[in-house]
């Protein structure tokens, strides 16, 4: 049962990483901001300001 829970938690963590939710959480920790429209706007500017991640064929 514990293994199943651990696998579920890892799966959720994987989704959060793929969908940038973890990156946003780290951004909030790093900048000491609370979740808000303004902080998410700053996060997006930082995240997508440079070259986008290539997607493979």
């Amino acid at each position: 049962m514990r293994k199943l829970q651990s696998a579920g938690a890892t799966f959720i963590a994987m989704l959060r990483e793929i969908f940038d939710e973890s990156a946003y959480r780290r951004f909030l920790q790093r900048t000491g901001q609370a979740p808000s429209r303004a902080s998410y706007r700053d996060f997006l500017a930082q995240q997508h300001g440079g070259r986008p991640r290539p997607r493979c064929c």
């Binding site: 890892t10 799966f11 963590a13 994987m14 989704l15 959060r16 990483e17 793929i18 969908f19 940038d20 939710e21 990156a23 946003y24 780290r26 951004f27 920790q29 790093r30 979740p35 808000s36 429209r37 902080s39 998410y40 706007r41 996060f43 997006l44 930082q46 997508h48 440079g50 070259r51 986008p52 991640r53 290539p54 997607r55 493979c56 064929c57």
Partner: protein, 682 residues
């Protein structure tokens, strides 16, 4: 006791693998079950991972369990973040898995199921997985540097320039070809066009939802977007049935091409948060779910493959793609066996997330094995169709004829019976006006996937929904690549043109954004336009060009890897990268030579141009087709010249190092001990 159990398990897996591959390879004249392909694939990957990748890790790369990775040393919570290996695996897989492993195997199914399957398995285990693994490992050892930077440091300046040119050329050709796949899937299809058109406002809505309504709730926003996409698929059937609405969404190939070019320009110039990012999230959400459901569907249905092991078209007369099995099967299937593009991901985001060196094996080798399995599923989806149906969908009008009766008669004369009436019934079943001449691979894959879903997960009455779900799945994939690829290409142009005139290099200066966006869209848009106006469907000319470009990038990656191995004093192990490199060179050179000089006008660009020139009547259309043929020949020649340059420069470096004329030194980051081992021990 435990060791004996493990040994016995691997003996059983090896035996199963041998039986499955033997069954696939030796059965002739009777249908086989698709599960043999699944078993052969899973056992091959398991054996490759357990034994070959372990050998690579321990002996060839000599990984170091106590060496800190850049994610640990340079941890900034932004680009460099030590991350759980399964999370990195998922992240890496989501980035490498695109439409390539779905489309290539479907096109190569014209040779039969055997060549594609064997190439996917052998290519992945000994080539693609090795390339992804070693490049990821070397990038981790070099602070997550990109392939271009590693090539410049380890091979030389020419290596760096060739890598840069390879990346930009593959980007342009890739975008043109995948856009053509979408156009061919959506032409004269009001249902499909409506569904895909709706994904644009859905993505915009998601962008606003994520930025304004629920900031940062991406999973939630993606789920909402997915539900809306499903509703648009459901609603598409009414659009297709409504005479008024259907008129607006029934578009010709040139009209669709123009719309996609405008869309590509907008996606490159608009703010990322508004269209590109939400679309990417939505595409990833659909991709991961659908691949899992397709695997489940195949296992539940265990379908029979109707395509023979080998078809008569191994002789080079294939209607889908002209050219013999060697080299064209190996050019057609790039992603799924060996894909140079992966080296960009393996030296991009992924190395910055790896927390332990030993995890590069699972992420690099294992991630590619998972993508290869997607290619096997695509092979199955194409080969469960009756061959006559497959060829009716995938053959261009220029080869089989434009009327249903002529096309059916031509295909039946090849020994693959099909009738115009049965194709009309199938088209009605999937909610399309016609399925003839739908080149590009996507429609054939969608019909196969709909067949698997409808028979395993629901009623046959849902064939039309599943078909349009599959089309949406592929088109969404492709359009998100178009978004990201156009933007990456724009940045690359800005980098290069910034050296010519500094303001053109400023990524946030709007005139520069618009100019460079127009440049990159114009470049891939030209290939797309060329494809839609090609009487042979475009795929016949452009897909091999894409395959050559992709394998060129793999050649660059394997040259870099071999150079580093030799510099590391591991020359005796260099065959692990030299063997796939030699194979890819043989394939790339032969395919390029044939695409340029083959006297058959269906294969050789120049022969086709000569054929057109000899025609008694020359129209402006003929002149344009001749120009395109010569342009394609020139592009192929440039690509093969780049291969020669990188191979020559690498070979000179190998000779210098091996003869002792140059002191071998690699540009690795300095050793720092990891703290994770101490933490684990305590």
């Amino acid at each position: 006791m435990k060791r004996w159990g493990s040994t016995l398990a691997w003996v059983v897996i090896s035996f199963l693998c041998a039986v499955a591959v033997g069954t696939i390879a030796l059965h002739r004249g009777e249908s086989i079950n698709a599960m043999w392909l699944v078993v052969a694939a899973l056992c091959s990957y398991a054996l490759g991972y357990r034994f070959y990748s372990k050998f690579l890790a321990a002996k060839v790369l000599a990984w170091d369990a106590v060496r800190a990775t850049p994610a640990e040393r340079l941890d900034n919570g932004r680009d460099f973040v030590p991350t759980n290996k399964w999370v990195v695996f998922g992240h890496h897989f989501a980035a490498i898995a695109g439409p390539g492993p779905l489309v290539g195997p479907v096109l190569a199914a014209q040779f039969g199921y055997l060549p594609g399957t064997l190439w996917i398995l052998a290519g992945a285990v000994f080539g693609g997985c090795v390339q992804d693994f070693v490049i990821l490992f070397f990038s981790v050892r070099r602070d997550g540097k990109s392939l271009t930077e590693i090539a410049r440091d380890e091979v030389g300046r020419v290596g760096g320039v060739v890598a840069y040119l390879a990346v930009i050329s593959i980007m342009i050709i890739l975008l043109g070809v995948v856009a053509l796949v979408v156009v061919n899937a959506l032409k004269s299809s009001p249902w499909g066009t409506f569904t895909i058109a709706m994904t644009i406002p859905i993505a915009l809505l998601m962008g606003v939802y994520l930025r304004v309504l629920r900031p940062g709730k991406v999973l939630e926003g993606s789920l909402l977007g997915f539900v809306l996409v499903l509703l648009s698929i459901w609603g598409g059937q009414w659009v297709a049935e409504s005479p008024t609405l259907a008129r607006y969404f029934t578009l010709s190939a040139p009209s669709l091409a123009i719309l996609i070019i405008i869309y590509g320009f907008a996606a490159s110039a608009l703010p990322v948060w508004l269209l590109l990012a939400p679309r990417d999230y939505l595409s990833t959400f659909v991709k991961l779910g659908t691949i899992a459901v397709l695997a489940l569907g195949i296992i539940v249905l265990r379908p029979t493959l109707h395509m023979p092991a080998l078809t008569r078209f191994v002789d080079g007369t294939g209607p889908v793609l002209a050219g013999k099995i060697f080299p064209f099967a190996f050019i057609t299937i790039a992603c799924g066996a060996v894909s140079g593009f992966h080296s960009l991901i393996a030296s991009g985001t992924t190395p910055k997330l790896i927390s332990r060196e030993i995890e590069t094996r699972m992420v690099g080798y294992g991630g590619m094995a998972a993508e290869s399995f997607v290619a096997i599923m695509a092979t199955i989806a194409a080969c469960v169709l009756q061959p006559g149906v497959y060829f009716a969908i995938s053959s261009p009008a220029g080869v089989v004829g434009s009327s249903p009766a002529t096309a059916a008669a031509t295909i039946s004369s090849w020994g693959f019976p099909v009738t115009a009436a049965s194709m009309a019934a199938l088209a009605r079943e999937v909610g399309e006006q016609t399925l003839f001449n739908r080149t590009g691979g996507a429609p054939a894959f969608a019909v196969g996937m709909a067949h698997i879903f409808a028979h395993s997960l629901g009623s046959r009455l849902l064939m039309a929904i599943w078909y349009h779900f599959a089309i949406m799945f592929e088109a969404l994939f492709i359009l998100s690549i178009l978004d990201a690829g156009t933007r990456v290409g724009r940045f690359m142009f800005q980098e290069a043109l910034g050296h010519v005139w500094q303001p053109l290099g400023r990524t946030s200066w709007y005139p520069s954004v618009l100019f460079n966006s127009a440049l990159i869209v114009g470049a891939w848009g030209y290939f797309l336009w060329q494809g839609v106006r090609d009487p042979l469907g475009g795929i016949n000319s452009l897909w091999p060009l894409f395959g050559i470009a992709n394998q060129l990038l793999a050649t660059v990656a394997l040259c870099v890897a071999t150079t580093i191995l030799i510099k590391m004093g591991k020359a005796r192990y260099s065959p692990v990268t030299l063997a796939p490199l030699a194979w890819l060179m043989a394939v790339t050179f032969t395919a390029s030579w044939q695409k340029i000089f083959n006297p058959n006008p269906r294969i050789g660009f120049l022969a086709h141009a000569r054929d057109l020139a000899a025609a008694p009547v020359r129209t402006p259309e003929t002149a344009r087709l001749m120009f395109n043929d010569r342009l394609d020949a020139a592009v192929t020649a440039i690509l093969v010249t780049l291969v020669v340059l990188i191979v020559l420069e690498s070979a000179l470096e190998w000779i210098r190092v091996l003869s002792g004329r140059k002191l071998a030194s690699v540009h690795e980051a300095p050793f720092v001990a990891t703290r994770f081992v101490t933490e684990e021990a305590s």
